[in-house]
Symmetry: C2
């Protein structure tokens, strides 16, 4: 059932050619572009068999062949060789991510931009998954009477803030006290365990100021929603409009379908998460064409990998491009960026 050696070479050559030209590959042009020791007739036989086995497709009877999803899958799994990044590419990425970033959001934005520039496809970076992280700080800052900025700092280095409204006779001191009490009670607690009840007990156990229960609860509720809101994953996506120059998206309806889906950050983050779980332990995850369960992305391929914060699995970075993608190049680029992120996030 497996592919014999020559068929493997043929399939590989076809994928390579199609990636380069976006045109169906015929037996003759295959001979021209590669050093085959057999004739075109032999290739034709092989190609017919490869088609029968589902690795190739024909747009129409008298055209050349293009790889099917299964063909790309085989190529990705066992045919392509992931080569090292060229020195120059490495240098370029290094220079773009070289400076020091004080906030994880800024770093991820830069990583995403770099990846998009480098690959020419759509890049994305997702903030660390917070279920695995815990609260380290909670500060409440009075901005004006009745308005408080809640700053939430999480173990993965994520800082989020949210403006909330509170009764306007509360003083900066009272508010700060409550914040401190909650922080003391909850710091180190996994986000998943934080609930309105744990917030309340934390506050009551550690608080020094006396406040009527109803009033206190109101403030605590706001603190709680601020913490919960910090749980949202942010997605930084770059390079979308570059897809418009690819022949596969010259039909604007396809492009629109793609963009439509991509504009829902939540969908994308959720899908990345799903894929990460499915392919646990893999160095990188690849989904090709119909394998992608998101609407509008069935003409694309999706490569993601996971970066770590302080050694723990955290968020994802990835690239979305046409199925006809330069897989090995993209993989080595993603890997390199991942490496740099890991390094910068080690502390």
């Amino acid at each position: 059932m497996g592919l014999d050696d020559r068929k493997k070479v043929v399939l590989q050559a076809i994928v390579d050619d199609y990636v380069a030209t976006c045109e169906p590959v015929g037996s003759k042009s295959l001979i021209d572009r590669h050093d085959f020791t057999v004739s075109s007739a032999t290739l034709r036989n092989d190609m017919a068999e490869l088609e029968q086995m589902g690795y190739l497709e024909k747009p129409h009877t008298s055209a050349g062949r293009i790889p099917s999803d299964k063909g790309y899958r085989e190529y990705v799994n066992s045919l392509m060789k992931v080569d090292h990044l060229s020195d120059e590419e490495g240098r370029e990425i290094r220079s773009k991510l070289g400076e020091s970033f004080d906030e994880i959001a800024t770093l991820l934005k830069a990583a995403s931009a770099t990846l998009a520039d480098q690959t020419g496809y759509i890049s994305l970076a997702v903030t660390p998954k917070l279920t695995s992280s815990y609260l380290t700080q909670l500060k409440m800052l009075m901005i004006e009477p009745g308005k408080v900025l809640v700053v939430v700092v999480l173990s993965a280095g994520v800082v989020k803030n949210r403006m909330v409204r509170i009764p306007d006779f509360l003083t900066q001191e009272q508010i700060a006290q409550i914040g401190n009490a909650v922080e003391q009670g909850l710091s180190g607690m996994p986000l998943s365990e934080i609930s309105l009840i744990t917030v309340a007990t934390a506050a009551k156990d550690n608080q020094k100021v006396e406040l009527p229960d109803a009033l206190l609860n109101q403030v605590l509720y706001e603190a709680y929603t601020a913490i919960k809101q910090a749980d949202n994953l942010d997605v930084y996506m770059e390079g979308k409009h570059r897809m418009l120059s690819l022949p596969e998206f010259s039909d604007t309806r396809r492009a629109q379908g793609l963009f439509d889906t991509l504009s829902h950050d939540g969908l994308i983050a959720g899908y990345v998460d799903e894929v990460t779980k499915e392919d646990e332990k893999k160095e990188y995850m690849i989904r090709i064409g119909q394998e992608i369960t998101l609407e509008g992305l069935d003409g694309c391929s999706f490569i993601t990998t996971t970066y770590t914060v302080g050694g723990k699995v955290a968020g994802n970075i990835g690239v979305i491009g046409p199925k006809r993608m330069e897989y090995s190049k993209v993989i080595s680029q993603i890997n390199f960026v991942r490496m740099m992120l890991d390094e910068k996030l080690k502390q």
Copy 2:
């Protein structure tokens, strides 16, 4: 030189028809769709004159006419009637912006999303222009030794924060003290007047803790850059990909050119600012086709207006669509959203 009454009606009818169909308008179909009391031959004469005067264009000899930039300009300036929003539209917008927003950024995002949904074009909202606003608060929060979150609050209600790095032996108390000193010295000062020197004198005049000058200056420098960074305008843009379904952007290269330019927030914010200055005192600003000096936007029209915070001129909201835009509808929608923003930002 002016247009006689019938020519005005003809031009208006042609713009209306072309907006509705995106197809060149001929004399016969004009008669069919409108109640003219004259014959098509007369209209033909009028149309020929309108063309000569520059209000109309022909895609080719035997086609109907389409409005030129000048034609749209005339339409917008004196032909169209800006009608009131339908009750239903008003209700819809009101319901989308009805809830209360604690942060100006959130409110602007919602306004932008509403405008995009409602018009079907590209919407944008720009944060308040900060040159006219002043610092109200500056807080420095130690996140971990060596890392401080600087929170800058401006008079227009804008809250920004930035993580900065400082020597890691400084304590939370010292940092907070410095923050307080700067805040005391600068609060109420217009952003434009804040410089490294004013920051330094503010700190030295109000500070209680004693610190070596070099050390203090390092922290002050970070505070200063955080304040200056708060000066960046943010642009919230929505609905870009909707343009792909318009016939004028079925050519992906046009769409790509547009998207390319739109991805540079700075460019857009700068242009909006420029237009606002040019058309000072106007209720809304309109730029049509070639009037827009941004690359890639010459097939578009751009409508902006200004919202106010606390009664003072502040930021902008706007819509970008094809030249063939439903001007009067969009204008009334923008106006309505502007009104709602003003109301919500009155306090």
